[in-house]
């Protein structure tokens, strides 16, 4: 009996091994390793790592760059997540009714999501070109003076955010299309019989019923925003004057340009902490919101 159990364990091990090896090597071990590194002082090159206790964290929490990037991160999250979700919902509501050409609209609006961020960011940096770029030209056509999009600390973040929103709005639209489609029509009809107009039906029936989707999108998009790198790297590289340097970008710079491994690791831990907190929140809130249908 005991050997049968061992045999089962062995068979299961065979099935899990192909995923387990890379998972341990590049996922679980790095997690433990980054915690370890965050207590060390190291520069990649020197053979010795120096144990410094909580010094990296103390330095980080006293570093004004950290608070600046924290502020940029919060702005980046709010400034990308809210518009992506609102735009996605609005587009889905417009597309929801049967409409000739609906599939064409849907394809066009979803297409930015499929394309490489680096390539489309390069295209946007041409659109943002201050002298002859499309953005300033169009503004000028309606009588607004253009700005030096990516060189002005007041506008650079807006520029990066616009690309981010443009890329993901279609994606959240698709999620809302599915969610709205799944709203039971008898509930809407019942509301209609009770004399609800379109607006009331939307507020009282549709919106609560698609709230799990909204919640899911908020969490996924926030985690995406916390990890945004490609568009920042192409458009601004964290500049000008740190105005687009998010926590992730600060982490990247301190690890791979100034080689302060300890400091970088402590930023990584902060990031991981934030993401895990968000995921747990979504998990528990999700439990509550999903079940009330």
């Amino acid at each position: 009996m005991k050997s049968a159990r061992l045999y089962n364990d062995f068979k299961a091990l065979l099935f899990t091994l192909p995923a387990l090896v890379p998972l341990v090597l590049f996922w679980f071990f790095p997690l433990a390793y980054v915690i370890y590194l965050s207590f060390m002082e190291w520069d990649f090159m020197s053979p010795e790592k120096l144990f410094v206790g909580f010094q990296n964290y103390r330095d980080l929490f006293e570093n004004p760059d950290f608070y600046d990037s924290l502020r940029v991160t919060v702005l980046f999250c709010l400034g990308s997540v809210i518009p992506i979700i609102v735009a996605g919902l609005l587009l889905a509501l417009l597309l929801n009714q049967r409409l000739r050409g609906g599939a064409v609209y849907r394809t066009l609006m979803f297409s930015p999501w499929v394309t490489p961020t680096v390539a489309v960011s390069i295209v946007w940096s041409w659109i943002y070109e201050p002298d002859v770029g499309l953005a300033n030209n169009m503004l000028q056509a309606v009588g607004i003076e253009g700005v030096r999009w990516l060189e002005d600390p007041n506008w650079a973040l807006v520029g990066v955010l616009l690309v981010t929103i443009w890329k993901s709005a279609g994606w959240s639209m698709i999620f809302y299309l599915v969610a709205i489609h799944n709203v039971p029509s008898d509930l809407l009809e019942a509301a209609e019989l009770d004399g609800a107009d379109r607006w009331r039906k939307f507020i009282n029936v549709t919106l609560p019923l698609i709230s799990p989707t909204t919640f899911f999108l908020i969490i996924v998009q926030t985690i995406q925003a916390l990890q945004a790198y490609d568009q920042i790297n192409v458009l601004t590289q964290g500049g000008p004057a740190g105005s687009t340097r998010t926590l992730l970008y600060l982490y990247y710079q301190s690890a791979f340009t100034s080689f302060q491994i300890g400091e970088a690791s402590s930023i990584a831990i902060t990031l991981i902490f934030g993401c895990v907190l968000l995921s747990l929140l979504s998990f528990f809130m999700g439990r509550r919101t999903v079940h009330y249908t």
Partner: protein, 280 residues
Amino acid sequence: MHLWRNLGTLARHVTLAAAAILMAFPFYWMASSALKTNDEIWQFPPTFWPQTPLWGNFAEAWAEAPFTRYLLNSVFVAGAIVVIQIINSGMMAYALTHMKFRLKGLFTSAILIGYMVPATATYLPSYVILGELHLLNSYGGLILSNGVSVFSIFLVRQAFLQVSHELVEAGKMDGASHFRILWTILIPLTRSSFAVLALITFIEQYNNYFWPMLITKDPNLQLVSAGLRSFFVEGGAYGLKWPLIMAASAMTIAPLIVLFVFTQKTIIRSVNLSAGASKG
């Protein structure tokens, strides 16, 4: 009444068309800028479509940097990762859903925890590990370090959970091995999940930039995004050769647009799946 309805539909069409044009316009602008001369591109006001389209710009951009190499690298690496991820997430998901073994609960929760960790935060330690394994600057490192995805395992697990246990039990009664059950019962029934998985993994890996850029400095090994970015910074000398840069960007984006047009039903179905997966 009829008139109002027609007007409503019209307004809807106008809004949607405006939104769709706005979303697709950067692609049009890229294509038209790619065909202009260096003089025309600096003209004010800009021309909507070049006076004489210079199709030669594409060939010129293609010749200025090893784009063939970059593209082949991306397709090869992304393809290899798709195959590996499909195999290992299928097997892992099978073990988690249809096998009995100790530590199964631990495995499942480890996957869940892995799902919460931002991959980018592990790039620094993974870089050090890859260096220790002497896998920096190699296809091996590129493929192995992307060879597993917690999301894929999660998605396949979700699909396997929907397959009725009776079918699997019947297979076991007939004395079929685990491999046989996986191969002849589960995979055929969840084919569409695998198709979705293959497609989104391919797109993700083709577009991947941050991690591959960190671990491959050798231009011969660069993927297309990193190659394009170095062409933008060096070859294009930051905006002096916009038409060529736009031509290069267009060539990078084109394969994906083509793929998307032919597979959009499947890609859009992925939304249903990941929305389902999110409900745990």
